[in-house]
């Protein structure tokens, strides 16, 4: 296998090939299939940028630090749900340059603990209406997610999880070995280390096009008046008498009545600007994509025991990954032992992929919390809010996180689906350890 390192997007999109965005004349142009065809006939000359490139104003009602998926969806829902449009999103690089453009795009609502369950359920419902909502092709594909199990004990745990999912109103189907064979005949069922007993099928689980989600929310927010300001790094947070006043940036000072910190792997640094020390440690997670192949893997498959998961992108690449590198890192590249481990696990599970060539591997910096669950909360500073701790599950959370963070910033109250995502749980001991792996950042 050949491995080269480069952050990558692993899908193509009819609507996006090569371009960073694509839009109508002015801010009101809707996208449609008809428009794609007509533009195609006339040399694609009618497209205009999907969002403006404004200079920062001196003051906003709300400043969002971080133009990743969560920052952009928060800005969008502030405008859409709460009519707050005097908003700026400040991004140190370009929109979508962080984890939102580096993840392996799994979207699911198969959580188990009260607190997580209702949140991800809400998020999946938002996903299901997202393309119509944003008038943007995010390529949400509910191809079904299968989590494999390999022992009687694990089966019991999955039965319990499946029942929790059904109680939450989502879908879960328990498959025995024959049931898994019908969907995934190419697995090595008799492998000696982890023979496959069955799987939990989550039919509404699937994938989406990662950066299209960022672009769709960006365009939607821009059309509602939000200023998206790129190449603008926040270097300080201004606080007076316990109240936030604004931020210092590489493009000058910007005053704000409210500020949201939504910077994923950089959460600790930005929170430190407000004197906070977070329950977060940053770790690198790697991912891999092969050359494009004909359709061969129809589902998302998760092989937890081997630390391996895989799906096939619409372009044909096999997109797969495994675990963290396990030690604190801000280097957006990983080390070789985890590469080897992931490849071995893939070969154990489905030897048929052995001849596919790996084209690229890359890494993203994850904001790991000690219980593996996120934070959407106020801080000790009035007007300063934080949304962080997404570990490696924050892509599927993008809609509900933005929805809940916008609700919190607009009303001062936690949204009902995000009530358990408070910082105080670390003081009171009400941790949300979905996997039951213990309270260390690298265990989730």
């Amino acid at each position: 296998m050949i491995v080269r390192t480069r952050p990558a997007d692993c899908h193509t999109n009819l609507f996006m090939s090569g371009a960073r965005g694509f839009g109508g004349r002015g801010n009101s142009m809707r996208y449609s299939g008809l428009r794609v065809i007509t533009e195609g006939l006339f040399g694609n000359k009618g497209w205009t940028p999907a969002w403006r490139d404004p200079a920062p104003k001196a003051e906003y009602d709300v400043v969002i630090i971080g133009g990743g998926g969560h920052g952009l969806s928060t800005a969008y829902y502030l405008a859409r749900n709460h009519g707050i449009t005097n908003v700026a999103v400040l991004e140190k690089g370009h929109l979508g340059s962080g984890n939102i453009g580096r993840n392996t795009t799994i979207v699911r609502a198969n959580y188990f603990l009260p607190g997580n369950s209702e949140f991800y359920s809400h998020s999946l419902k938002l996903w299901e209406g997202l393309e119509a909502e944003l008038n943007y092709n995010v390529m949400h594909s509910q191809r079904g997610l299968i989590n494999l199990f390999h022992s009687d004990g694990q089966r019991d745990a999955f039965v319990r999880r499946g029942n929790a999912m059904i109680n939450q109103g989502d879908d879960a189907v328990l498959l025995d070995q024959e049931g898994v064979r019908e969907h995934l005949p190419y697995l090595d069922f008799e492998q000696t280390r982890f023979p496959i007993y069955g799987g939990l099928l989550h039919p509404r689980g699937g994938t989406a096009r990662h950066d299209a989600v960022a672009w769709g929310y960006a365009r939607g927010a821009d059309r509602r008046g939000v200023d998206l300001i790129q190449n603008c790094e926040v270097t300080g947070i201004d606080i007076q008498g316990g109240v936030v006043r604004g931020v210092q940036t590489t493009r000058g000072a910007i005053r704000a009545k409210k500020v949201g910190i939504i910077v994923a792997g950089r959460s600790s640094q930005v929170a430190a600007m407000a004197g906070m020390r977070l329950p977060v440690e940053s770790h690198v997670l790697q991912a891999f994509v092969t050359e494009g192949l004909k359709p061969v893997i129809d589902h998302v498959i998760s092989f937890g025991m081997g630390h391996f998961y895989i799906s096939q992108s619409d372009k044909g690449g096999l997109v797969f990954g495994g675990d963290l590198d396990f030690y604190a890192s801000y280097a957006a590249r990983g080390n070789l032992p985890m590469v080897e481990h992931v490849m071995e696990a893939g070969m154990t599970l489905m030897p048929m992929i052995g001849r596919a060539k790996v084209l690229r591997s890359w890494g993203g910096i994850m904001d790991m919390t000690p219980d593996g669950s996120p934070v959407i909360d106020k801080t000790h500073v009035e007007g300063l809010f934080i949304d962080c701790g997404w570990n490696y599950g924050g892509f599927k959370a993008v809609p509900a996180s933005g929805w809940s963070m916008a609700h919190l910033m607009a009303t001062g109250e936690s949204h009902e689906v995000a009530r358990k995502f408070r910082l105080e749980r670390f003081a009171t001991g009400h941790l949300l350890d979905e996997e039951g792996t213990g309270s260390q950042h690298n265990l989730h």
């Binding site: 600790s268 020390r277 440690e281 890192s329 801000y330 070789l336 000690p370 670390f426 260390q440 950042h441």
Partner: protein, 107 residues
């Protein structure tokens, strides 16, 4: 490949032979401390982008816990030292200062 020298047995071990712990030199709070102190000790992490002091275990070697100073941005290793100290030894600090003149210190 991350390689750390075990300060006990002197083996230069690559990461597959080691288990990572977490931030080193945390002050431990137990019974009698406030909730805030205990929470900070248990969960809050400095998480620097740069010089980081951390615990490692020579898991597939001599089995002992030791400490390492490492850069989380470049993965450069400044040095390792035994765990029976409450702050980084002066030679490690000197090495870091030489490599990172603007480093703000380990606290």
């Amino acid at each position: 490949m991350l390689i750390l020298e075990c300060p006990y047995c002197g083996v230069k071990a690559d990461e597959t032979e080691l288990s990572p712990g977490y931030e080193a030199h945390l002050k431990r709070f137990g019974p009698g401390s406030t909730d805030e102190e205990f929470e900070a000790y248990m969960f809050a992490r400095k998480n620097p982008k740069g010089v980081h002091f951390e615990r490692w275990r020579h898991a597939y070697g001599c089995g002992k816990w030791f400490l390492a100073a490492r850069c989380t941005a470049t993965l450069e290793v400044f040095g390792t030292y035994p765990a029976q100290v409450s702050e980084p030894p002066p030679d490690i600090i000197a090495k870091i200062r030489a490599r990172r003149p603007d480093w703000s210190g380990y606290k």
